[in-house]
Amino acid sequence: MISNLILGVVTLLSSVFFYRQTTDLPERSALFPQFVLWGLAIVGVLLIFQALLAGRKGVGENEFEAHLEARAKLKETLFFQVIIPGGLLLIAYGLLLTVGFYLASAFLVFTVYSYHTYRIDAGNLNRALWGRAAIFAVVITLFMYLIFTLLLGLPAPSGALF
């Protein structure tokens, strides 16, 4: 249970780090966060113990391959379904700050549509797909502009340039 071990270590270290931030606070403001951070630290230690105990028990021969397969799948998921889409969203956030919401949205729709189709079958990545992605991005952006800005008059985030 490597994930439990990592979660436990990160929780423990973070709670120590944040606890140190509370030492300069007035007693009344520090009390509740300190209580919560103590709780998090204890949970972190218990998660580490649990992972170490599970590690000591080991995995049976029959389960070993399944265990390796699950770990490889987790790594693949983390990379393709967390890091890449998360990165795309962070790029979109950067665009939001510079060129505003609607252009950033068009970028996000275009890239996520293309990436999704690529993940289903890498062979799908061709000129027709780019065309479909671009049309879809424009349609969705216009639809949002129509609903939020023209119909409801809600302010959309504007960037430094637009």
Binding site: L7, F32, P33, L47, L74, L89, L96, P157
Partner: protein, 501 residues
Amino acid sequence: MDIVSILLNLLTPSVFLVVFAGVLVGIVVGAIPGLNGAIGISLLLPLTFTMEPQIGLLLLGGIYMGGMYGGSITAILINVPGDVVAAPVAMEGYPLTKQGRSKEALYYSIFSSMFGGFIGVLILILFTPPLARFALQFGPAEMFFVSLSGLIIVGALSGSILKAAFAVLLGLFISTVGVDLITGSERFTFDSIGLRAGISVVPVVLGLFCFAEMFLNIGKKPGEQVQYRDQKIARMTVIKDILRQRFLVWKSGLIGTLVGLLPGVGTTLAVFMSYGDAKRVSRRDIPFEQGNPDGIIAAESANNATVGSSMVPLLALGVPGSPTSAIIAGALVIHGIVLGPSLFVNRPDVAFTFLYGMLLTVVAMTIIGAVGIKYFSYILKIKMEYIVPTVLVFALFGAYSLRNSLFDVFIAIVLGIAGAIFKKIQVPLAPIIIGLVLGGLIETNLARAMRIAGARNMPLWEYLLATPLSKGLVALVVIMLLVVIRMRHKEKVAAKEAKNG
């Protein structure tokens, strides 16, 4: 507020339009695998900002109600539950589809949802105002115990105890970020202007539920669709059969209602408990998992009963019963409405219109569900490559629009990444939201209790347990906890038995 004014508020074209639109969106969103009512509500949140609060609330209530039913459509037609909650319906509904009886299964689903929905909403109407009146007597000690009970129950019921405790504590920690309103000192802000205002519920929900869910949907292929020749069946035949099983409907509806009342427990437990019970008591000759309608009746009655009852603690005590109701609470902040006992004193128009308006959502769900059956197969044709990017950009806008803050967008993205990781390593997400919402209540009431105890020169615990009401609340929490732990144990045993055939 008298019933005539409530009816006058309700019987307007705009209310009908909003309720029907909300339910329709809820059904569509619920039917699409990977989406659910909570995501639908988060996405449509910005629309409610320009509406009157009670109408906005009814739109969200309609999505909640429709979303609960929508999950059963794909479960029955293609054996892909829109949500985990719809898994028992898939087990009984899909075999019926393979026998050419999908229409019959869908009728069982919608009419059982209707009965369950009515039971939940009736409980909402009957119990919320008296509970709110009673809660007006609550002091800091009682409110502290009520909020704490929500956390304890969430922790006890969400998967691994350690991971649930982590999630609850993380939610509580997030609630402490920002300026402390009592002393004015900044906590964990690192001199960031965005963090000074604290972290609001809506971007957290959008991050943990919308972004994380969409990340994990990327690359998913559409479910295989096979067309079966369907037999004709009259709606009344199904309704009469459900009425013959009225004891099962009431029992499942009440299980859903009771579980829905417990903060943060969620619908899954209610549905599986009712399904397990139906398996035990069903008198039909049809084996379960081979198309026994009793399984659909029980699961769907319980499912929709939780909608109304999960709103009871939110409206009466300000304690959300589910992540969905936490988002609804967040949406009301923009209208300056504070949920809790004072809602019925300060804004009875909003409170009562919503309570009775929820009956309309059940009616709308029944009409759309019963009439729209032939169109449901079209929902299955919507491809994930269109859904994922659309949901992402709508969620970006939703995160921004609550406080017009780009920082909230950033928070939602970061928590989306964290939420996807948490989901993969089986950290439950609902307790984070409940912890975040209840954190403020717990801290404020604890601080008040400490101040009063200090002024009376008595130890804190003595003050907290000074009144019979607070002692009663502690006893109630302990009893509730024991009951739900026992229920969960029974559920586990039933699941193990089912696994072993």
